[in-house]
Amino acid sequence: MSPVPPVLAMEQVTQAYSHPRTALFRAPGTFTVLDCIDFHVHAGEAVGLVGESGAGKTTLTRILTGMEKPQSGRVLFEGADIWQAGPAERARFRRSVQMVLQNPRSSLDPRMKIGTALLEPMRSLRIDGNHLDRLTEVLGQVGLDTSALERFPHEFSGGQLQRIAIARALMPNPRVLVADEPVSALDVSIQAQVLNLLKDLVRDLGLSLVFIAHDLSVVAYTTHRASVIAGGRIVETGPPVELFTRPKAPQTQNLVSAVLTVNSGLSGNAL
């Protein structure tokens, strides 16, 4: 274990929700969404989280980004519990952990100009400085130019909007980028563009990346280390190459065997 604490971590996080009542004379049951989750990301590291829908990915993301408080367990930013932290530290956490969401059409307010939307995190998090320079810089980093600022979201394609969403997340100069299925709503020919962009950002800016997806190959392309989540538990963690070649947990084996490739299809042994 390195002496430097991970930039973002969860320790023993458990979260349960209650079912809606289904019978008149029976107490509503609860179900555990996350069960004793340990998860961390170091500075400059890209980690993946793979699982099927309903495995607990969304809840984990919400807890990791401080949007939901875990019922038990701790969320640590640079070694300090964010739910025990003072206002200054909490503000720093908010600035440092940013998110890219799945559906780019939905993640930008249709009534807000791109320029305003990009400045929103700066205003909300009360970050001073020359925002105009920052806007130009960040737009350059995602491959757009400043003519985008005066436009509304409906004037852009899905791929462009996802770049804008990434730009918004970069605005406060974060340390960690949490990307929740950032390419699954995009066309195949656009997915590679966005994946490459995320990879470049990790390399060039020294960002940490938490990449959440249902597709093991996409995670393998983008990250150094990946965890497989199933039924609210992390069942296996390791470098993607290990997960692919020597999966141990049955859930990992399922995910690996679900992967289809063109070559395996052409050789006739895919199904």
Binding site: P20, R21, T22, A23, L24
Partner: protein, 315 residues
Amino acid sequence: MPVYIARKLAFFLLAVFAASVLIFLLIRGAGGNVAAVILGKDATAEAINALSRQYGLDRPLPVQYFDWIGNLFRGDLGRSFRTNEPVTDLVVSRLSISIPLCLSGLVLGLLIAIPAGTYSALNSDKPVGALIALLSQVGIAVPVFWAGILLSLLFGVRLGWLPTGGWTNWDSNFWGAVRSLVLPVISLGLILGASLTRYVRSAVLDVMNQDYVRTARATGMTRMQALLRVGLRNAALPIATVVGLQIAELIGGTVIIETVFSLPGLSRMILANVAAREVIVVQSTVMLIIVFVMLVNLIVDLLYGVLDPRVRLTR
């Protein structure tokens, strides 16, 4: 389903209770001293006090409220201040006009709206569909009393086929009573039908665009079969909800139509009592109407539960 029924029943009871408190407070609170309201501006203080004492209006509000509710449960709607007649007796004969009028209006409205709305939805890109949509727009804009006036002008005055107003009792002349109700029911049904057509049309349009209707057609149903066997059954759910909501409006229409055609129904009685400031009578009869509407809504909700297996089997 048991949970669903229990929840709907509980809500019904809560709604009736809340509405009764609301009506009670509105009448006691907004109007000031009830006895003063009843006796009018010129009443002396002694007269007001005497009346208050006689009817227990000087007791604390909660006592008066529970007294009123308790009596309602026993079917006692109170007595008129002026004539001292029991309100219950007044109401029953009136209901024999209002309820048939209201329900026939609803049935006629549905008989117009379901075919018209469905037809215009299926032909939404053709002139016929647009025409029906336009007619329904116009129908929505026509005040129900004006429709009543125009109809009685045409069928009553000009053609002389049907009475333009008045009432003969069911017992004394059954067909006369029916004839008296024809024009009122048509006015009510036409106007209700116009607005329901719009809802039916949008519900059918919505359902016919659903994936499962596409599946039905992909497995060999014609457009018409898909509509009749799959579409309407599913469109019934939102339509039932809308009908429930329209009941309240239907009551308003009934009140007006009874006035247009001088039918001695419940609403005419309420209007007369409003004019005469018979506060207690108004309070009780209004409560009766509200319970009726809520009961219809409850039935619609339960019907919804039966129609929709997602509700029936899981909750």
